[in-house]
Amino acid sequence: MHALKTHRGLVAPLDRANVDTDLIIPKQFLKSIKRTGFGPNLFDELRYLDEGYPGQDVAKRPLNPDFVLNQPRYQGASVLLGRRNFGCGSSREHAPWALEDFGFRVIIAPSFADIFYNNAFKNGILLIALDEATVERLFQAVEANEGYRLDVDLEAQTVTTPEGEVLHFDVDAFRKHCLLNGLDDIGLTLEHEDAIREFEQRHRQARPWLFRQAG
């Protein structure tokens, strides 16, 4: 996983609440057995006017000119501004894989769905929850100013606007540590191998039926 310490990026506004994982990456693209290559199909149903399926040459597909990510002014955006309950729906990690593959590093919204929140951090995407009023202000600023960029500093937990306003955000210490250092969860957990073995043994003694196989 790559580390993220600071990030400066162009902001794209996605003005709808409850953006679900089916919208982020429709299920016909879940059939891949790989982790990469989902970017071209991010928001497939919104981005293209035809029906998408795996293995297409996306360059030949008709783009939906009304969709925000297709507008010239948002090309190269790496910060996504969203509305409440972003990422609801399934547990598919393909959603953050697609967002990451497309080039998003930071998503700002009033709230995020639980599983998506976890999955995004594990894939090096920083999710920043800001209150509704602040997010609304950002939407207005992004739409009013072409080339609107935000500066994100994970260490300091701040987002700085072009006007110089500094917005503070919360992030839990563990996720912050992992993202700052690009750490792999499994390696970290296996540092506690002895504690796990010990727990497992006690657990097996107390509740042996949890370890039973079909007989």
């Binding site: 089916d22 919208l23 059939k31 976890n118 999955n119 499994i186 042996p208």
Partner: protein, 479 residues
């Protein structure tokens, strides 16, 4: 000191290590796998040269991509026409074989939707932690198991360490008291709950479903409710242990037997919230007031009683809500204030991990018996949740009831719940579906999903539009 909630008990029984930052390492007793979210996890294990921590905690079955017609299934994996789907199923087979994980393959009678299979086998037990790379893992909470969906990175983490990094949730109790009306089911309860608290109402909480109406439900009904906890934003849904739980588990293949059974039962009896447990939040429903529910929009919270109508966006104060309703109505091809009973249907799907268990099929068959699907219905299908459910239904003659009424009787799998196999909606088609998600495109590009109970779906199939199943029941039916 105040008592503990059921969730608190399960959490503390599995706590391996508490970290200073509030996150914790919890031990996982059961890990269920399917073909869609596991390949990248196995790939990760291989790349890092890691081995699964405890093989016997894992159980796998393909479900999302499997075809559901008898003809295709007769060929086993070779019957999967879509090459990409085939690769996923084969990859699961190969991974399970090479790592030594038990798998119910495509034509094993025990194959089925992973959330139907686990409980049916007794592989889901009270007091377990159960995870799966699938958000509807919440289903297993009906057994007082701490169960939730995880992402693929976490699938790999659980395989490698038998643990999960987790954060303790808050406690929300949803109490449903009183008696349900005739023809009103568990599905209607959970849709009504989501309609009231919203799709983010449970975010950050473990929801315990309690109250006399929940006690009255069968395990199947409780699973339906916990299944959709995630649709209310909660990763975890729970129901405390009682006789219904214990009776269901007796003599299941993976359940304990003999002396171990008695010890287990004694332990399970404690898996209820203490009387003096404190919940962070509580919501109460009167079961008698719940009517059969139908979703009209593109989010499960966009739901109305069958006697009601589609909302009018102009009547909403909040602009985001207004916009959401407008967008949903445009997508669904519905007009503001249109009566729910006037929504005409093209297809009907009875199945999915929400409603494909034997009791669901019995309820639908009760309505379908002696009837005939409306001429306007292009396809009505019944997809049992597992090979064993199918066998049981056939032993009871339910397959005949459905077939005689014009339904297609299919082989087990996720099928048109998410349309990863060939079963899907065409653009613009309206479908009465017993599944759990009505998101845009969920059942096929441009498809329009209305979530309902199995009885409501069967009634809609016969009428060609939504009807109040309570009145349907009241009409004398031919034998």
């Amino acid at each position: 000191m105040a008592g503990q909630t059921l969730y608190d008990k399960l959490w503390s029984q599995h706590l391996v290590k508490q970290r200073d930052d509030g996150s914790a390492l919890i031990y996982i007793d059961r890990h269920l796998l399917h073909e869609v979210t596991s390949p990248q996890a196995f790939e990760g294990l291989r790349l890092a040269k890691r081995k699964p921590w405890r093989l016997d905690a894992n159980l796998a079955t393909p479900d999302h991509n499997v075809p559901t017609t008898l003809l295709e299934r007769a060929e086993g994996n070779a019957g999967i026409k879509d090459p990409v789907s085939l690769i996923q199923v084969q990859t699961l087979d190969d991974n399970c074989q090479s790592f030594g994980i038990e798998e119910f393959r495509i034509n094993d009678a025990r194959q089925g939707i992973v959330h139907v299979v686990g409980p049916e086998q007794g592989a889901t037990l009270p007091g377990m932690t159960v995870v799966c790379g699938d958000s509807h893992t919440a289903t297993h909470g009906a057994f007082a198991a701490l169960a939730h969906g995880i992402g693929t990175s976490e699938v790999e983490h659980v395989l490698a360490t038998q643990c999960l990094l987790a954060q303790k949730m808050k406690n929300l109790r949803v109490r449903v008291e009183g008696r349900l009306g005739v023809g009103v089911t568990a599905k209607d309860i959970v849709l009504a709950v989501i309609g009231r608290i919203g799709t983010a109402g449970g975010t950050g909480y473990a929801i315990e479903f309690a109250g006399s109406a929940i006690r009255e439900l069968s395990m199947e009904g409780r699973m339906t409710i916990c299944n959709m906890a995630i649709e209310a934003g909660a990763r975890v849904g729970l129901v405390g242990v009682d006789d219904t739980t214990i009776d269901y588990l007796r003599e299941r293949p993976y359940a304990p037997a003999a002396d171990l059974w008695d010890a287990a039962v004694a332990d399970w009896r404690a898996l209820v919230s203490d009387d003096d447990a404190v919940f962070d939040k509580e919501v109460v429903f009167d079961a008698a007031e719940i009517a059969p529910q139908v979703t009209w929009g593109t989010s499960p919270e966009m739901v109305a009683p069958v006697t009601g109508s589609v909302p009018d966006p102009d009547a909403e104060a909040d602009e985001t809500v207004q916009g959401g309703i407008r967008r949903a109505l445009a997508y669904m091809g519905l007009a503001p204030q249109q009566k729910i009973a006037d929504i005409r249907l093209d297809k009907v799907f009875i199945g999915s991990c929400t409603n494909s268990r034997i009791e669901d099929l019995r309820e639908a068959a009760k309505v379908a018996r002696g009837g005939r699907i409306a001429d306007s219905i292009k396809l009505a299908m019944v997809v049992p949740g597992s090979g064993l459910v199918k066998r049981q239904a056939e032993a009871e003659g339910l397959d005949r009831v459905f077939i005689e009424a014009g339904f297609e009787w299919r082989e087990p799998g996720c099928s048109m719940c998410l349309a990863m196999n060939a079963d899907k909606l065409e653009p613009g088609e309206h479908c009465a579906s017993t599944s759990n998600r009505n998101f845009e495109g969920r059942q096929g590009y441009g498809g329009r999903t209305h979530l309902v109970s199995p009885a409501m779906a069967a009634a809609a199939a016969l009428a060609g539009h939504f009807v109040d199943v309570r009145e349907f029941h009241a009409q004398p039916q031919e034998a």
